[in-house]
């Protein structure tokens, strides 16, 4: 049997999955992934349980089995998936919302579970929830790996040896230094690397982990946590004196510094280029609560639930089963006396309860900023200032904000819907300007963002801040005529979607063409020559519906 890096990583995980927290497998379903899961099945020391991203609390934590309880007339509970130690396999892990992620993270922290996250995310707006990503000890990119025949060795000898494995002197200090150079701040990854180094040493049947084990472990445990070089370099320099080094130096090991270099090199080598880009965007890609089709709970948060009220369940109103049972329950013994049928539950139409929710879905404000060269630098700064002021209000109202800019040949979503003001502000400040005015592209992207948000149950609104007519068409080529046709087309699409929007003309002199465009969009048009940031924000607030 041949040992490959992949089989070695899997064997190390299978040796003591709980110590490593989890295994993050990136890539779509493939023969290789099936092989990986198959190999793990035979090797893991714990039973495996598959959980779906939409799993309910009852199934996870255990609880009353409603059907059986109704039949038997006494409480029948069933254990949840988390009640017993297990390795949890999560397909479509990128769809795990923050609620489930928090619960799984809590379970992982207790050290009795491990998680295999099958991350099938495709676009940059999907990713494993950060609470889980931080707890995954090993990251393996299966999307580009060639298929191979996976055979895991017999792990029993290694498992017996594992508790006895010691780390090299000063190993932790080297790891910390390497992590610093890679710009990895959180400490969980380092703990995973230590545990992994032990597991690798145990696989090799040695009782003292070597520097090579540490480097190998770091490559597996840290690569997905590293940040791109430029950001990492901005980290504060470490002080040169490191008292922890003294033992290893005393032993006359000149490789001390080179070990951390080795870790850095090994970790960097493991980094797939595209991944780094995605990671740089950080928590932006977190799965939103309750996103996607098939999820019964509507959208983002369709308001807070109100108490159920009597009524017949019809299409828009769902039956509230628990409330219905609660309503029926106290009458059971009375009804039993007059109804001899051997039914477990005697329901009356008056017991039916329907679910109600206060209509109060979250607002999303999408700012589409014209950052073209014609929108002179000063005006751009004013528009930025207005958005900032408006953000402060959004903060109080708990509105979500998204930011996109259009310039040069296309539009770019600078910030997907978020509530984090600090990040919005940072993106806004770093927004570049210059180039042509691809108005059509900006409108298209604004609409796409709005529709996506609407699917998540938010109420989107679009504010377009521009200084005039577009001169770049959808294909990105210059030409005023083509650009205008495209812009009008985009505007009509926005109108058809019934999107609430607002066009703010921030040019020196009001542009009739822009007013016409706004009319086509069904938008309010406001000309703000010489706008001050304060007036802009006030206008925005007044113009958008509550």
């Amino acid at each position: 049997m041949t040992e490959t890096p992949l089989s070695r990583a899997l064997a190390a995980f299978a040796l003591d999955p709980c110590a490593l927290g989890g295994l993050w497998l990136y890539g779509r379903a493939s023969p290789l992934r099936d092989q990986v899961l198959g190999a793990l099945t035979g090797a893991l020391p714990l039973p495996q349980r598959r959980i779906h991203p939409a799993i309910q609390d009852e199934a996870l934590q255990g609880g009353m089995d409603l059907a059986l309880t109704l039949q038997a007339g006494r409480r029948i509970t069933r254990p949840g998936i988390l009640s017993n130690p297990a390795v949890l396999i999560v397909p479509m892990a990128e769809r795990v919302g923050p609620g489930l992620a928090a619960r799984l993270a809590q379970a992982l922290d207790q050290g009795r579970h491990a998680l295999v996250a099958l991350d099938e995310s495709a676009g940059p707006d999907e990713a494993l929830a950060p609470a889980l990503a931080d707890r995954m000890g090993i990251f393996l990119d299966l999307s580009t790996a060639p298929p191979e025949d996976l055979v895991l060795p017999d792990l029993d000898p290694a498992r017996r040896g594992l508790p006895l494995v010691e780390l090299p002197q000063g190993g932790a200090a080297d790891l910390v230094r390497a992590a610093q150079a890679l710009g990895i701040a959180p400490l969980r990854g380092l703990l995973a690397a230590l545990a992994l180094a032990r597991a690798l040493a145990a696989l090799d049947g040695v009782a003292l982990a070597t520097a090579a084990h540490l480097a190998e472990a770091a490559a597996l445990a840290l690569s997905h946590r590293a940040r791109p070089v430029d950001e990492a370099d901005a980290e504060p320099e470490m002080p040169p004196d490191m008292p922890d080094d003294t033992p290893s130096e005393a032993k006359g090991e000149p490789q001390d510094l080179s070990l951390s270099d080795m870790i850095i090199a090994a970790t960097r080598a493991q980094l797939p280029p595209g991944l780094l880009e995605r990671l740089a965007q950080g928590p932006a890609r977190m799965a939103q609560g309750g996103k996607g089709a098939g999820q019964v709970k509507s959208g983002n948060r369709h308001g807070r639930p109100l108490s159920a009220r009597p009524g017949r369940p019809e299409t828009p109103a769902a039956l509230d089963l628990l409330a219905t049972l609660r309503a029926a329950a106290p009458w059971q013994s009375l009804r039993r006396a007059e109804d001899p049928r051997p039914l477990a539950l005697l329901l009356r139409p008056s017991d039916l309860r329907i679910r109600r929710r206060a209509e109060q879905s979250d607002r999303l404000l999408i700012f589409a900023l014209d950052a073209s060269g014609s929108s002179a630098v000063a005006r751009l700064a004013e528009a930025k200032g207005a958005v900032e002021l408006f953000l402060a209000e959004a903060y109080v109202k708990r509105d979500h904000v998204a930011l996109l800019s259009f310039r040069n040949t296309g539009a770019e979503l600078l910030l997907p819907p978020t509530r984090s003001l600090a990040r919005t502000k940072a993106r806004l400040a770093g927004m570049p300007g210059g180039g042509g005015t691809p108005l059509a592209a900006g409108l298209d992207l604004g609409l796409a963002t709005a529709l996506q948000a609407r699917r998540r149950g938010m109420t989107p609104m679009l504010a377009v801040l521009t200084d005039g007519r577009g001169n770049i068409d959808r294909a990105g080529s210059p030409g005023r005529a083509g650009a205008e046709v495209d812009a009008l087309q985009a505007a009509r699409a926005i109108r058809a979607a019934g999107l609430a929007c607002l066009v703010l003309d921030v040019s020196q002199r009001p542009q009739p063409e822009l007013a016409m465009l706004a009319a086509t969009m069904g938008a309010r048009y406001l000309a703000l020559p010489r706008a001050q940031a304060g007036t802009l924000a006030r206008t925005l607030t007044a113009a958008l519906p509550d």
Partner: protein, 346 residues
């Protein structure tokens, strides 16, 4: 709704990571200890990076506190038999020692689970209208911990803060009319990068601290080594730190016994008011919390009365989140507080 999850099998239960063994994060530890001395402070909000030991600290603190004496079968951990609520229909009235409860409030929890609801089991099997207590009942006399409080639905947070402040859970639903004591220390934690807490809610937490990942290599190495030692042999590690934890526990108990007798001279009261005015805090909650926290600090230190030094020590935790602030200004709230402190408490 249904009761909590079936308890984990005891065989693999490992001892909690000892509180004293947490490296650094002094502000967080101090705030939690103050809240343990004076539960009326109104909770602690811990905001900061992932993997900085926020939940470890909360669990560790609860494990360090002495067992509470409570009626065995009582759902709200009543200390005396005559305090057991009548809806509870407790059968086992013996007094037993229970560990200080730490109740986790998971994201996505329903209101039913939090406040309690009609007991379906009893309703179905016996046709009785009975109340099944929720998480708030279980947390009475202990800690209620919410990780990622900034992601919790707003109406649940409102409800929690309300109960935390009044110390009583009032249930008026499903034809039930029940009230029971719910005195707990509310601890919320979160990562501001994933969304902020509503400003209206922030200042209802008594204390707030910010935690960051340690940047000092030496400290980071120490964290790694300790955690690694713990993971390999939790029993031995807990035993090694047992004495320190016990000493801290004794300090907290002594402070609790002392706190009622600690005087707050009127110049200190003036200082409290001046500070809160300078910060621009709304209402009187700031002053009261500042005074309580300073008193708890004095009790911890064994002082007979509150001094300016105590005020200075607790002011950042009490006031930072009450600063009348520009939400977009991320530049040093801590710096503003120290400036105000230097100006008004020379």
């Amino acid at each position: 709704m249904t009761q909590a999850a079936p308890q984990l099998a005891p065989l693999s239960r490992r001892p909690t990571y000892p509180f004293s063994a947490i490296v650094g994060q002094e502000a967080m530890k101090q705030a939690l200890v103050l809240a343990a001395v004076e539960p009326a402070l109104g909770g602690v909000l811990i905001f900061g990076d992932r993997g900085t030991g926020k939940s470890t600290a909360v669990r560790a603190l609860a494990a360090l506190l002495p067992m509470i004496e409570a009626v065995a079968g009582c759902p709200v951990n009543s200390p005396r038999v005559d305090m057991v609520p009548d809806w509870a229909r407790v059968t086992d009235l013996t007094l037993v020692k229970k560990p200080t409860p730490v109740v986790d409030l998971p994201l996505g929890v329903t209101e039913d689970r939090v406040v309690g609801a009609l007991d379906i089991e009893r309703a179905i099997s016996r046709g009785e209208k009975a109340y099944e207590p929720g998480l708030l009942a279980r947390a009475n006399r202990g800690f209620l911990y919410i990780d990622e409080v900034n992601l919790l639905e707003d109406h649940i947070v409102d409800l929690l803060l309300d109960v935390a402040q009044s110390g009583e859970n009032v249930v008026e639903r499903d034809g039930l009319s029940i009230r029971h004591p719910a005195r707990f220390v509310l601890v919320g934690s979160g990562n501001p990068e994933e969304g902020e807490l509503r400003p209206q809610l922030i200042d209802r937490f008594g204390l707030s601290v910010e935690v960051t990942t340690p940047r000092e290599p030496k400290e980071r190495v120490e964290v790694l080594i300790r955690r690694d030692t713990y993971d390999r042999d939790p029993q031995a590690f807990a035993a090694a730190w047992g004495a320190e934890d016990a000493a801290l526990c004794a300090r907290i108990l002594a402070a609790r016994a002392r706190i009622a007798a600690i005087e707050a001279p009127s110049p200190v009261l003036y200082d409290c008011a001046t500070l809160c005015l300078a910060v621009g805090a709304d209402g009187l909650r700031g002053e009261l919390t500042l005074l309580k926290a300073a008193r708890a600090m004095a009790a911890l230190e064994g002082a007979a009365k509150v001094t300016r030094a105590h005020l200075r020590a607790v002011a950042p935790m009490v006031l930072t989140h009450r600063l009348r602030r520009d939400p977009l200004d991320e530049a040093g709230q801590g710096a503003r507080i120290s400036r105000i402190l230097a100006e008004h408490l020379p």
